[in-house]
Every structure is written in C-alpha cells, then in structure tokens.
C-alpha cells in the first residue's frame, strides 16, 4: 500500500512539472496533501493524539484545504490560467525531471544515513528538485508560489525520512515560513500585481519605495 503512495506521489510530481494549467497545479497539490497524510500514517509506528492532530492539520487541513482554497482565490482574482508562453518548454522540463530523479538517487546514496529511510530521501530530494524546477522554469509568480509549496512538501518528506531526529517544531516553523511566503505573494498578486503591470516574477524587480 505504501508503494502505491510512493508511486502516486512520484507521478503527481511528474504531472505538475509537465502540466501547463494552473488549475492542475492546485489539484495536484491537494492530492499531495492526502498522499503525505497517508505516508506519514504508514511510516509512524506509534501515535499520540497530539501527534496525529498535528499531522492531520499540516497535511489535510493546511495542504489539501486551506492553501488550495487560497490558490483558487488567487487564480480567480488575477484571471491567469496557463503558464507564461515564454516559460521553459514542457519537453525540456520533463528531461530536467529525469535528470533530477537520477541526481536524487545519487544524493540519497551519498547521504546513506542509517536512521533515515532512503526511499523517502529519494522522493524528498525529487520533490525538492521539482519545486526548484517550477520556480526556475516558470515566469509567472503563481508558478513560483506553487514551487515553494512543493519544496515545503519535500521538507515534510525529509521529516518523515528522518523520523525522531527531526523535531515537529522545526517542521511547524518551516510551514509557517511557507505560509507567510504564500500570503505575501498572494497579496502581491491580488492587490499590487495589477499596478506593476503583470504577474511575472520579473515585475518584482521594479518594486521601489
């Protein structure tokens, strides 16, 4: 069953890198929230109610409900639908993803820590690279926003891989950071974006006092 979750998570990363519709980004991110919850449940040997509630809050409530709702509002507010035409072509993105999967394997092997689950390490690295690919290959800020969120998912996977070595507090701190980043970017896109003349990441460089 866990294998199914690994594979589905991997396929969701492939899909998010290949798709050009932002609505699909949201759907995939929502699905990843559920998959992460399943993986966290499958990996932990014992649970306290507090632990379970925190994982539930972080995955299902935050990743699958609140953030997708926020992202949908951004899309409705800005009217953007697809990735920018000047974005890196899908063919190249997929080829980079194949390379990223190979590098993830190598990194996981180099970092062979006895306390870490190497399968999760590979998926975590692959997720991290997917987030980076989204940020570097997409021109519109929305793509960057989702890229950040995907990177946060990789942090969550790292926390599962390392298990007890990774305090929940650190994870919560990173989650808060990402949430603030999403909030600031959504404010930029819905409130300030129209005045800067677009939603491209380059327009952020024009901001002055």
């Amino acid at each position: 069953m866990v294998i199914l979750l690994y594979i589905l998570f991997g396929i969701s990363l492939v899909y998010i890198a290949a798709t050009e519709k932002f609505s699909n980004y949201i759907r995939v991110y929502t699905l990843q929230g559920f998959l992460l919850f399943g993986m966290a449940l499958a990996e932990r040997e014992s649970f306290s109610y507090v632990n379970l509630a925190l994982i539930l809050a972080e995955t299902i409530i935050f990743k699958s409900v609140i953030v997708p709702w926020l992202l949908r509002r951004i899309l409705q507010g800005t009217g953007i639908r697809n990735v920018h035409k000047r974005s890196l072509a899908g063919n190249y993105t997929v080829m980079i993803m194949i390379l990223a999967l190979g590098i993830s394997l190598l990194l996981a092997r180099m970092l062979a820590i006895h306390t870490a689950d190497s399968t999760f390490l590979v998926i975590a690295f692959f997720t991290l690279f997917t987030g980076l690919v989204l940020i570097s290959a997409r021109k519109l800020i929305f793509g960057h926003l989702v890229g950040f969120l995907i990177i946060e998912n990789s942090v969550f996977l790292f926390s599962i891989a390392i298990g007890k070595e990774f305090p929940l507090l650190v994870n919560a701190g990173i989650l808060l950071d990402i949430f603030i980043a999403v909030l600031i970017m959504s404010i930029f896109m819905t409130r300030i974006g129209h005045r800067t003349g677009g939603f491209e990441a380059e327009s952020l460089t024009k901001l002055t006092d």
Binding site: I3, I7, V14, A18, G90, N91, V94, L101
Partner: protein, 300 residues
C-alpha cells in the same frame, strides 16, 4: 503454441472491439467486432496500385512489416503460456523487431515520393525514438524485479519477491501508453483525421492499397494484441489453472481494448508540439517505476 494462438486470436477482434466501444460511447450502434477483419479480407482480394515513382521498397516492405511483428509475437508469453521462442535477452530482439517493422514502414513512406508521407515518416521516427527508452527502462525494472532474462520470465511478476498489485497496474499503464504511441492513436495521433498535415501513421499509408494496405492493417491489429498480451502476462498470476488463465487473458485484452476505445472517445489529441512532452513523461514514469523496483529489492 497456445500463447501464439491466443495472440493471433485476440488480434482478430481487438481492433473491431475498439471501434465498437467508440461507437457505443458516441451513441451509435457501430460496425461489428469483426469488421476490420472483413475489411482486410476485401483488401487481400484486391490488386495493388503503385505510384510511378515508387520502387521495390513499396512492393516488399509491407510484407516485411508484418513478418517482423509476427516473429516478435513468437517471443511474447500469454498469461503464463510460454512463447514459441525464448532465449536470454530476447527482449532486445523483440524491441528491435518492432523497430525494424517501424523502419520498413518509414522507408515505404519515403519511397512513395510524397512530401506528406515524408512528413509523417519523420514524425513516426521521432516518436518511435522517444518511446523506446520507456520500453527498455520498464524491461530493465522487470528484469531486476523477477531476476529473469527473457520475456517469458520477466513478465511473471506475481512470483517476484515483494510483489504488489500496484506493480502490475503501473506496468499496464506504461505499456498502455507505449501502445498508444506505437500504434499512433489518440492522444498522439488521430486515426480518423482527414487532414494530411496533422496525420502521422495514416499519412504514411496513403499510397498503399490492396494487399499492401491489408498487411499494414494486420500489423496494427497484431501490435495491439502483442502489447495487450504483455499487459495480461504482467497482471495475471501464472500459477492459475490454464482455463482460468485463458479466460482472464481474453478479459484483460477486452479491458485493454475498452480502455483505448474510451480514451479515444473522451480525450482529444495533443497539439503536435505537445506529443514529445507526453512521450517523455511516459519515459519518466518508467524511470520512476525502475527506481521503486530498486528500493523494493533493496539494491539501492
């Protein structure tokens, strides 16, 4: 012999079944399941017309296209029934027989001297080249998983240590997508299109007629059955009773044909420049499957 018999039998109705599913999905009664076979029979009794510029290739290649596929089908197991030919590394010969068949089809298109056919041939060559890694990586993953070295052993997934039904589904998904590319079906190509500019496979056979066209159509039907057989071999446990395996084999082939029919009914084809991305994505999923296999077998 049973494996070959099953493959040849299912190849007769699989193309018709796809058309039937498409007809039902669009609210029409549609032709009978054996209509493509009847069409081939009509074509076989007709003479061939050749263009003035075409040479020996157009006259000989169609029969070579079918022959290569027939030899490839001799190596394919069918749900536990052993193939007629099996040896170490036969999957490489299998892949290159498929490639040879495609190559003959491509040079036939070039031999016609039509610029349209040349355009279709170049597309076919590109997509064929891009989908090949997906097949090889998949086979590499299966080889690692089962420890087998020929098609007759590597598709016996259910006996592999750490087997999960998920593996069978993923293999079916990847081979299903490879079939769509190899057979030039939606979303890569639309066999029903009437615009030469957007054609891939259909434009390559525009100058073929009669017996030669029948050979190409038989090849297409056989290709569906071969890939369907590989899927059936991956998902059906090989230790079941022969009767049960035969029933399940036919059921899987029908399910496979239904999936293709439904895909073609409810999905539009991609723009030409999106096809490469789709094919590369299939390759990436294949690589992902390979990585998961490495971890399952604790090799990594």
């Amino acid at each position: 012999m049973t494996a070959l018999g099953l493959i040849l039998l299912t190849s007769l109705f699989i193309a018709g079944f796809i058309v039937r599913i498409k007809s039902v999905a669009s609210g029409r009664k549609g032709p009978g399941v054996l209509q493509p076979v009847k069409n081939v029979w009509v074509l076989l009794r007709k003479g061939s017309v050749y263009s003035e510029v075409s040479g020996i290739i157009t006259r000989t290649a169609p029969i070579l296209v079918l022959s290569a596929l027939l030899v490839a089908s001799l190596m394919v197991p069918a749900a536990g029934f052993p193939p007629l030919i099996s040896f170490r590394g036969d999957f490489i010969m299998f892949a290159y027989l498929m490639a040879f068949s495609r190559f003959m089809m491509i040079i036939t298109a070039f031999d016609s001297g039509s610029s349209f056919e040349g355009m279709g041939a170049s597309r076919e060559a590109l997509y064929g080249m891009l989908i090949e890694p997906a097949l090889f990586v998949l086979i590499a993953g299966l080889t690692v998983f089962t420890g087998g070295t020929s098609l007759s052993t590597i598709f016996d997934l259910t006996h592999g240590e750490g087997y999960s039904y998920v593996f069978g589904l993923i293999v079916a998904y990847i081979i299903g997508n490879i079939t769509l590319v190899e057979n030039s079906r939606i979303p890569v190509d639309d066999p029903k299109t009437h615009l030469e500019l957007t054609m891939i496979h259909e434009v390559m056979v525009l100058d073929l007629s009669g017996f030669n066209l029948a050979m190409v159509q038989l090849t297409s039907m056989l290709k569906f059955a071969i890939f369907g057989s590989l899927i059936a071999s991956a998902v059906i446990p090989w230790d079941l009773a022969p009767g049960a395996r035969i029933s399940l084999f036919i059921a899987v082939q029908l399910l496979f044909a239904s999936a293709i029919g439904l895909t073609e009914s409810f999905r539009s084809r991609y723009k030409m420049n999106r096809n490469q991305q789709y094919i590369l994505t299939v390759s990436l999923i294949s690589v992902l499957f390979f990585v998961i296999i490495l971890f399952t077998k604790n090799i990594f």
